[in-house]
């Protein structure tokens, strides 16, 4: 039937427009575990503004939450369905677009959608345990865009619901830090908010006292000091980041690589190129083929007159496929490295 209808439209000289799949149908598919295709079809059918309108419409998410799979939803089922809607929204946002940061200012579709989903979850007085993961995934999404103010706003809600979450403590500092990026490269001025260094320092200090995120807090604190040209303080923090925190898990490779890379950068700035070489080598032992450390190493080797090795490393670097997971490229995206793990856990909750 559909092909006949399409043919009829074409014969009439009209342009066929893609049929929009109703939101409740997409939600039903998502809830049954058909994650990728439900999200893909949503992205095909809707822009973010239209998706927001559709999901807020009477035939949208509210209808599905109340009258979907179960005949009459009990509060617990309702809460579960709200989590499903909220997770679906996160995945649609991830597929549609996360950057640039300007997309996340108040009133922009990503911010409105996220706020809507967050609000749905907060309607339940007692949060489901999985809601914690949802807030963390939302946080990762906002960090991907580098949107400090939006992260601050979201953390206000997330921390109220889960005040004991270590990553929210760290993210409070990250939200402040994100306002300071990007740095200038060209001749032109950039507008960034760099005036809250003291406030940021307090936030890093607080996060550094939380074992689960201590190493990462020390790393970021060090980077902040490095960017303010306080190299001795920066090195102290990088050293701390490389130590396994008492009671916490060993820092992951992202943290260790970046601590070594920024040690290298700091030694370069202090014109201590021999130690810079050692740091870059240590970074490459953690993430081989990462171009950020390879080029840092080659440049430092030139400065200690090891030009032959510098050229060899550069030639190797240019001739090989680079590591796709160079942590330097994800420094500002912080928690985004956990997105696959967190969204997987949320999906498991959806179909449970």
């Amino acid at each position: 039937m559909r092909s006949v209808a399409t043919l009829a439209i074409l014969l009439c000289g009209l342009q066929a427009t893609p049929m929009r799949v109703p939101v409740d149908e997409l939600l039903e598919r998502y809830a049954s575990g058909d994650f990728e295709s439900a999200v893909r079809d949503t992205s095909k059918s809707y822009g973010l503004s239209d998706f927001y309108k559709a999901i807020r419409a009477q035939t949208g998410a509210t209808k599905w939450i109340n009258t979907g799979l179960a005949p009459l939803a009990e509060p617990a089922t309702q809460a579960k369905r709200k989590l499903i809607v909220a997770t679906f929204v996160l995945e649609v946002l991830d597929t549609a677009a996360v950057g640039p940061a300007g997309n996340w200012t108040v009133g922009q579709p990503p911010q409105i959608l996220l706020e809507y989903a967050c609000g749905l979850l907060r309607e339940s007085e007692t949060p489901l345990p999985a809601e914690r993961r949802w807030h963390m995934a939302a946080m990762a999404l906002i960090e991907s865009a580098g949107a400090g103010p939006a992260l601050d706003k979201h953390l206000g809600h997330a921390s109220q619901r889960f005040s004991d979450e270590p990553r929210f403590v760290l993210a409070t500092a990250i939200a402040s830090e994100l306002r300071t990026w990007p740095d200038r490269r060209g001749d032109d001025q950039l507008e960034t908010d760099r005036d809250d260094a003291a406030d940021r320092r307090k936030k890093y200090e607080r996060a550094a006292a939380v074992p689960a995120v201590s190493a990462e807090a020390q790393l970021r604190w060090g980077v902040d000091e490095f960017r303010q040209n306080r190299t001795a303080a920066a090195l102290t923090h990088f050293d701390e980041a490389l130590k396994t925190p008492n009671g916490g898990a060993a820092p992951d490779s992202y943290v260790r690589y970046l601590a070594e890379l920024f040690r290298g950068r700091t030694f370069d700035q202090r014109r201590n190129f021999a130690d810079a070489v050692a740091s870059y080598r240590a970074a490459l032992a953690i993430v081989p083929r990462a171009q950020s450390a390879m080029i840092g190493l080659a440049a430092a080797l030139v400065r200690v007159d090891q030009r032959e090795e510098a050229a060899r490393i550069t030639n190797d670097m240019l001739g090989m496929a680079p590591s796709p997971a160079d942590p330097w490229l994800f420094y500002g995206k912080a928690d985004a490295r956990f997105w696959p793990e967190w969204i997987k856990a949320l999906r498991a909750e959806v179909v449970r």
Binding site: G99, A145, R307, A310, I313
Partner: protein, 297 residues
């Protein structure tokens, strides 16, 4: 310009007449500094030919040096092209780039060598080193959608070429950089130490492209930096030249490069390390002289 004070390069220069075994010695510190300085001499805009060592005055850190050789350099070239391939180089873009590249290749002699470095988020060697006049094809390399221009520049500057060849680095760019770990200060330092001559043609207008989400750096081209880098290597910076094609810009660079003199000397009466300021003039003072301002010893 090629300051030859760096270990392996100096070794090759000085031991060119020595036995082969001696050339294997890893010599990273030396008491002798062999230096080669590229010098462009012009009468108004026309290159001046026919000068000899006796026509030049050269000072290294204020100390007059004896020029042992001077000539319009005919040495074979190692050419490194740097092209921005961020985003996609598929389809027509790659075909056009390949045509341009082949035109550049045809400008070179068979004994010259050509290499292409494509950069985006990453820097990649497109096809290795090929002989001048050959017809390479640009492969479908994915270098990512961001721009690590400074990393690519640093890559070119950390390479070196045998002393019997000259190393020319040419970059066609909009000057944008948003993901390099290498800083302007790093580049300035490397430019003072490289064997190569850097030429940059700045095209278009780079704007802050934030479509990526978080990036560490933003802003348009740093023209002041690019001017400084090219000057440090004895090269030239072309700020929005009239022509915007790769072959036409490269032709201008090659003409400039091939009509420059190379002055060679062994530095006497100066400390080996640190920055060496070099000044070159013609004795009669009639001509406009452009030379590398110095080198890192």
């Amino acid at each position: 310009v090629r300051p030859l004070v760096h270990g392996p390069i100096w070794v090759l220069a000085v031991l060119a007449l020595a036995d082969a075994a001696a050339q294997q010695r890893p010599t990273f510190s030396t008491a002798v500094a062999g230096v080669a300085i590229d010098v462009s001499v012009k009468n108004k805009n026309a290159p001046v030919t026919g000068l000899t060592a006796a026509d030049f005055d050269l000072f290294d850190n204020g100390v007059r040096q004896e020029i042992t050789a001077a000539g319009l350099e005919t040495a074979e070239l190692d050419v490194m092209l740097l092209l921005d391939a961020s985003g996609s180089t598929d389809g027509p873009t790659r075909a056009r780039m390949t045509n341009d590249l082949r035109e550049v290749s045809r400008m070179l002699r068979p004994t010259d060598r050509l290499r292409l470095l494509l950069f985006g988020t990453y820097a990649r060697d497109a096809f290795g080193t090929v002989a001048g006049g050959s017809l390479p094809t640009i492969p479908a390399l994915n270098v990512g959608g961001a721009t690590s221009f400074y990393n690519a520049l640093a890559s070119a500057l950390t390479l070196y070429t045998p002393t019997d060849r000259r190393y020319l680095v040419f970059c066609l760019t909009d000057g944008a950089d948003n993901t390099s770990v290498i800083t302007p200060a790093d580049l300035q330092d490397l430019a003072g130490r490289t064997d190569g001559s850097l030429y940059v043609a700045l095209l278009g207008n780079s704007a802050y492209n934030a479509s990526w989400g978080w990036v560490p750096y933003a802003g348009g081209a740093n023209t002041k930096l690019l001017k400084d880098l090219t000057a440090r290597t004895g090269g030239l910076f072309y700020d929005h030249p009239a022509e915007n094609s790769l072959p036409k810009n490269f032709r201008a660079v090659l003409d400039e490069f091939r009509t420059s003199y190379v002055l060679r000397y062994t530095a006497q009466g100066v400390q080996k390390g640190g920055w060496h300021t070099v000044t070159v003039t013609t004795k009669d003072g009639r001509y406009k002289v452009r030379a590398r301002p110095g080198y890192q010893g």
